[in-house]
Point group: C2
Chain length 306, copies 2
Amino acid sequence: MNSAASEPALIGIDWGTSSLRAFLIGANGEVLDRVSSAEGIMQVKDRNFEAVFDKLISCWGHHSKLPVLASGMITSRNGWIETPYARVPLDARDLAQALVCHRTSGGTELRFVTGVTTEHASGPDVMRGEETQIVGAQAVGLSDGTFVMPGTHSKWIRVAGGRIEDYATYMSGEIFAALKGHTILGTLMEEGPHHAAGFAKGVAAGLDAGSSLLHDLFHVRTLPLMGRMEGGAVADYLSGLLIGAEVKAALARGDANGPVTIIGRSDLADRYETALTTAGLQSRRAPDEIVAKGHFLIAQAAGLIS
Amino acid sequence: MNSAASEPALIGIDWGTSSLRAFLIGANGEVLDRVSSAEGIMQVKDRNFEAVFDKLISCWGHHSKLPVLASGMITSRNGWIETPYARVPLDARDLAQALVCHRTSGGTELRFVTGVTTEHASGPDVMRGEETQIVGAQAVGLSDGTFVMPGTHSKWIRVAGGRIEDYATYMSGEIFAALKGHTILGTLMEEGPHHAAGFAKGVAAGLDAGSSLLHDLFHVRTLPLMGRMEGGAVADYLSGLLIGAEVKAALARGDANGPVTIIGRSDLADRYETALTTAGLQSRRAPDEIVAKGHFLIAQAAGLIS
């Protein structure tokens, strides 16, 4: 703990599919302490989320009266409590009004930040957790514009006037893993360090106006087969092709006007920065732990912090 | 055998990744007899293709002096003999000149029809076996126009003046299997009979001008998640989405002007016919066993049949 910091005021939990992070948050919104664990919702034995939660915050036992906010896939069908989706457009106040309260058998009250839905012509879209990070971005001066959150299911989120206006999900990360692991495209790949040239070539192919993913993916096979790409470049070529196609689609949807703020793991953020630059777009990065700022702002809007 | 048919003149083998078919072909190009086996190249133990071949044609032992033509993935890197690719444009005569001869240890001479390559701005494309079927289509009055050959890797082939002008591969079939089996999209699918309405909805989404596959695929998750699609429709929705996107891409490439001839398994052909009709295109079907006609025409062009 930082002795110069304000008093603890809130516990925030970002509980995702494959990991969780908990934050002890001060009265000014700063992170005083943090713990993390690999116990994402899919790793919790017998779905005993309460046991994981109790263990997680036991180190902060002397703060057991603090309000607790949790966000992320923990509110999904496979999580602790399945909560309804709030609809775009929305901001911290709307999320505060939609908090779902839950009392553990030990008497601790948690409040879940609910997920968010939007409706496109092609169908509905859903997210759980990203909305809290977007709220947090406002606390660090990143209030408006386009945000991209790379990952298994990338989110492109438009924010205007401090509100989440709309967003779209792209399955690039999960599709990369499925194609690499379970199709012929993986067979000519060789493990190795990041291959920047292979990635750049893939990005260019994915961004190309005439490209069609179902066709162009076959080049991940034919280029090494014909001796025109070394094996160590192939996986990064596939990664670039998918990320390039994602950026092209986001541009076509109008999701990438102006500078794009990248929120996420640094290796993935590097890839998106390269793709955005290649597409002629400026990008900037959000600092780590903005999710805790989101928990703080939502708790404040809910009147949980004076 | 048909007693009214001409004398046997050729043995043709269509040897693919997962199965093979052999034909005893008469002097007029008709199929006199056929055998098939599940011994595609990936199922041949110790790559002992010769043993499979010897067993396969043993029933036609009294015709052991006939010329033998083989086409398909048998000429690929994982096949018996890896042959070079011929380049588009080409016709039966070009394929006849490019035949690759091989003598088995038993003294039988085989001739392999080599694969075909083309060059797109985005990279090279390859096929092995489809070119022989296209040649065969000419023998049944289907000489010009666009051909689609659905499958693991669909081929769209343009034929003009009896020559293969160009073609493109779409990975729709293999991607369908990878997404269904190895991503979150498979988790809300329920087995059941073909769901025509789910398929049609997917086709419409895939054909939509504003669609982006990386985004729209997420609706395969969200529609059943939000209770807007029954589980029994989901797999066919995914199938329709991919086939619709393939047809849209082929149209954009100019690969689908005029009626399209579908060559392939009838259940897949039905799906493509539906997608083509939805896209406003007429389609027709090629008869079965045109590959044997292709073997016949190439053998004739090579002077192997008088």
